[in-house]
Symmetry: D2
Subunit: 303 residues, 4 copies
């Protein structure tokens, strides 16, 4: 299989035929993508994993900066995905606030909607960008697809049980299957794949971030992954300049696979290792806001 | 019991001794309030309710207005809790946006943090307002208490199985127990209480909104409700001017009970009626943002 | 001259050769456009008009809406160019606020920077859009051109001394010259042209807004107008579909003429009529913010 | 005179009787404060200073940061008073943006409205804070007072013609009169006072910022200063802890004197020195937005 995705045409560009794709699989108007794989059977398998009700958050904590800057801003503004302002209420018995949120932010655990990525001027499953993404918001492939939440079985594949992945490592199908074997778990069609690299997201030229290879995306396609969540996702810099961003530029726009970026998996890995259980009920329920390209989310692994 | 809360002193103010309170029950620094009632046993009871994995959202859909106004705003700005702007990315293959959120909004299903309400200059469990709520955000009793999500058993008490509650109706302990009997379910300590009145939130002097009476709050206290969610909450105008807002001004600040305001319960009621099951696994996982007085949330009832 | 601009090619599109243009006139990197016409002599002529120091604002008053919406927003959000929030300062002896401004808004008197309009993928004087306007703001042709303010002689031509202009009227060179004759004033090269139509900006299909014709733009070009300010600008709907928006799509991008949209001229017209003086010192000093496509401004006519 | 303001009562607090005040001088509802001193005669004196029309901006340039943060923010967010976002317009021939402005910011030249400072729970001229400043904005003493602009004679007193003022220096009446004598100019009643210390605003414990003493505020009161603009204002830390902030806590709330904070005076000083003229026409015309506590402004000195 690996020959398929590494063979490229003479111009150095990968042949589009050789990329996995779900365009057309669930119709021309589909907005769910690989979430279609979460059948009744999958959901039942998911809730069967929940026994004690212990919940672990897969989200990084966010501490808001001030919406204000300057001398009346109580904190120095740092790089936070959220800016908050407490409202002056003139003596009312309640406090209130407003917040400004950068929906895609490397310090925020967020879910990418299918309209977030554009491929040849189109969004999944082949709709023209101009009619899908408008100045007024996303009309097709928005966060509206997550309105009722995502409930499925989640499987953690911990690629860094001892040490973090080496810098620049390209995660392959082999890596994922080795983790399955090591952990004694198997990802089934419709499950959410949670991948731990043991890294915190940080762009550092001296220490290239490892990430998912196209080979691993093919594996996800074959296995039927419904949703990806990782402490890392695409390598930076790209593993293969001819196919940069296998997750964001292939899995999301061609497979229609929603991505949970910048998950926090330290606690999850510890709980899994301690209990010896790497499968759990996964719930993903972002605020029910339509029309966005992405939104912060707090996924829960429930054991 | 009803005599307790209607007896008032000569000045017309209720005697604070007669209000239910958890101040001190879990220590002077507690930030969980009634969420402390969600024990391991409660959690296990919660997940035991999840069998098929069918999930129902308890949140109203939000369609953002534009952050822009005027001729370049694609939509007339209407009353939306969220304003969105699509970012001009100069041709990049990704779309992105930012949003401005009014955290407490009657068209948004949101959770009130314990620092949202002030009682005699203090927030739960008796901390001075000035040290708990600062210009930089909430320091004590913020949304940080919900960082790891809330997982418990939820019980819907549908007070409007046929018709909406009558205007101005004050919901009593008797109403809640009648629903339990009618539905064949019993709310246990640590469960979340979901109350359906059959109303959409709307302030209309000609049609006063029904709401929770102090009698019902006492009942919640005795029963050990961990969390309240309702399509309505406090009546408007107040049922009893001497104790306005039994939920927001008593249950939240004195009991330390988080409130989910403006839940959307139509689908939930239909699913419960159809299946004859009024208990479910309830997950509440707002974005993991600390320091807020409240935040939009998408609670899921999982059957 | 009028034949020039009405002749069109067979395809119904105007021949670009026939549109007035200053591209190249002041170099390929010019950011001032027609403000180059404000020479030392013009400035001296301008200040010579200021004798008593009486100042009249040409700006509409703006009353901010709240940055908040919902129950904690003190006012219903209406269509305001500015949203304000008062900061909670926790008892400090000062009050402070932050504001969110829609820079182009029909209820806000604002100045359009040269980068605001794109002509064939280029901004004045022929620079590619992609290098001039970036996600980080405007790099060429921004409000930075107004950093030191604009000081020149202003001339009001009141086209509506008795009644408002008729609906749909296309303002011609003849109209402008008739006003000059009636008022006994002559617009000289480098002067700012202030045009009063006697209308408040309002889009109403039943009552089409009058506006500047291409003929009048040619006149401004010949006369050397440095800056346009009007209670109205371009007609809506367009006077000539082949050349829609003579001010915004021709004068601004091709002549490099900054436009002050939605000026408030009632008081100015009254003062001019009363004194018989239609020329004055005009100062335009928007906040010194670089990188914007436009910004609210308070032009002053000083007599 | 200096004895007056240094004498304090036993408790260490200055006697309010000994502070200059205009409360009541122009009535209980006055919103102009010392701008009342700008009479017709003053205005005429102001415009008489404008001869060539050369204009110098007294504002610092502001380069906006992005409203976005994170990977889609083109620039690292730094400490800017303004955050901008370019709007995605989906191919429209115009570009547009929105901006979020912190109205009081030490990197922004802005004007303080009279409602910005509170003295004993009151704002100038003695109105209760609660009725003047509301959650919906400032009702009394807002930027609305500057709606029609400020036009007067400005006088630069350059206290740092050679070297910057020494750290921690308290500017006295004597300093100001020495500058008048050195420059051959005299500030008259109604003039705007522009003070140059030769400093850029920066809080540095090792290098305390010089600033205006109460003695100098008394001098301004006697002389009839209508408006203060300075590269610095109040010293930090305070010169006299018993009367901290003579400008912001005395001149603004008690005299009703608007303050232009953080002016940029380098170019102005050079032009004055070169021409030997230290008086000019000063125009101050912030955007005509009511209800704010302050707003960025671009004051122009016109020679």
């Amino acid at each position: 299989m690996s020959t398929e995705q590494t063979e490229q045409n003479a111009a150095g560009a990968v042949n589009e035929q050789e990329l996995p794709s779900n365009w057309g699989r669930w119709g021309a108007d589909d907005e769910l993508g690989t979430l279609n794989l979460i059948t009744d059977e999958v959901r039942a398998r998911g809730v069967a994993e929940a026994r004690t009700g212990r919940a672990v958050s897969l989200a990084r904590p966010i501490r808001p900066a001030s919406l204000f800057s300057g001398p009346f801003a109580p904190l120095d503004r740092d790089a936070s995905p959220v800016q908050q302002v407490m409202q002056y209420t003139g003596g009312a018995p309640a406090t209130a606030d407003v917040m400004l949120v950068t929906n895609h932010h490397v310090l925020s655990t967020h879910i990418d909607a299918l309209g977030h990525q554009v491929r040849d001027g189109r969004v999944y499953p082949g709709r023209p960008l101009a009619e899908s993404v408008t100045p007024a918001g996303v009309r097709h492939g928005s966060t509206g697809a997550f309105a009722s939440g995502i409930v499925t079985r989640g499987v953690l594949l911990d690629l860094a049980p001892e040490d973090p992945l080496p810098p620049g490592h390209g995660i392959t199908a082999e890596d994922l299957e080795a983790a399955e074997a090591r952990q004694g778990v198997r990802l089934e069609s419709g499950d959410a794949l949670v991948v731990r690299c043991g890294w915190a997201y940080a762009v550092d030229p001296a220490r290239p971030m490892p990430g998912i290879s196209l080979d691993a995306v093919w594996w996800m396609h074959r296995r039927g992954v419904s949703l990806y969540a990782g402490d890392l996702g695409d390598a930076q810099p790209p593993l293969d300049p001819a196919v940069p961003g296998p997750l964001h530029r292939v899995a999301l726009p061609l497979l229609g696979m929603p991505l949970i970026d910048v998950a926090e998996l330290t606690e999850l890995a510890a709980v899994c290792a301690e209990s010896g259980r790497y499968a759990f009920l996964l719930t993903v329920a972002p605020p029910r806001i339509h029309g966005l390209t992405g939104v912060p989310v707090n996924p829960l692994a429930i054991f």
